[in-house]
Amino acid sequence: MWSYQKRLQYPVNIKNTNPQLAQYIVSQYGGPNGELSASLRYLSQRYSMPNEMTKGLLTDIGTEELAHLEIVGSIVRQLVKNATTDEIENSSYGVYFMNHGRGVFPADSSGMPFDANCIAVSGDPIADLTEDLAAEQKARAVYDNILRVSDDPDVSDVIKFLRQREIVHFQRFGEALDQLQNTPEIQGFCPGMNAK
């Protein structure tokens, strides 16, 4: 089960409003390569993982992604909390504002609500871990895009932290996949992988 700590994994203190930037960043809240997608994917995949290493890693990284979800939500909220309706109207955030005000709703940057179709749980540990490697790179790529359009150093600072975590997760999943593929018992578990 989960325990909640009343702190962010990384501080978020945004001085300036920027609804346009919020519109882009909300994609990492409810978009296909965002933190909700990541946490749901890993926390769901862990049930069908074959050994303690994979069960532990997916639980731990899935939990960290929930902490990142909270960070992204905080960024979005701080960017719009004190924004004037003028600012909001003059950005693409205006369309999101109609149904969500200055609230944080899980959607991608085009307004498509979160859809679990963006995650896969195949029940096959090799397929699932391979999906996880791709997921981390996609998330990293989106953070790269956000850094390209952000001119706010308070925002960019947090985004760089989140981006770096995706790279570390990629490294850990790679180790897990590598170890799994070299585990004789697992080769029997995954028919087709070096099956005799």
């Binding site: 325990s3 909640y4 700590q5 009343k6 702190r7 962010l8 994994q9 990384y10 501080p11 978020v12 203190n13 945004i14 290493m53 532990g56 890693l57 731990d60 990284i61 960290e64 909270e70 939500g73 905080s74 909220r77 701080q78 570390v168 997760h169 850990r172 180790e175 897990a176 170890q179």
Partner: protein, 82 residues
Amino acid sequence: MSDRANLMKKISAYAFAAYDWNLYLDTHPNDTDAIAMFHKMADKASALKKEYEDKYGPLTAEASQDMERWNWLDCPWPWEKY
């Protein structure tokens, strides 16, 4: 930076370091040096959290100590600026 923000920053740093060792150990469970580092970081984080909680209130609901008022509810919440 206020004392509160400063203390929180240190907690974040040590807790994060411990957590990163946690992830590393998930794929390297027999690395005793890493286990030692994990504990070093985690112990420091725990001590700082206790100091923070004594001054500013609980970081988890279970850690609430105030018998007159349920101070778990106190603002600021993490998504608000300090």
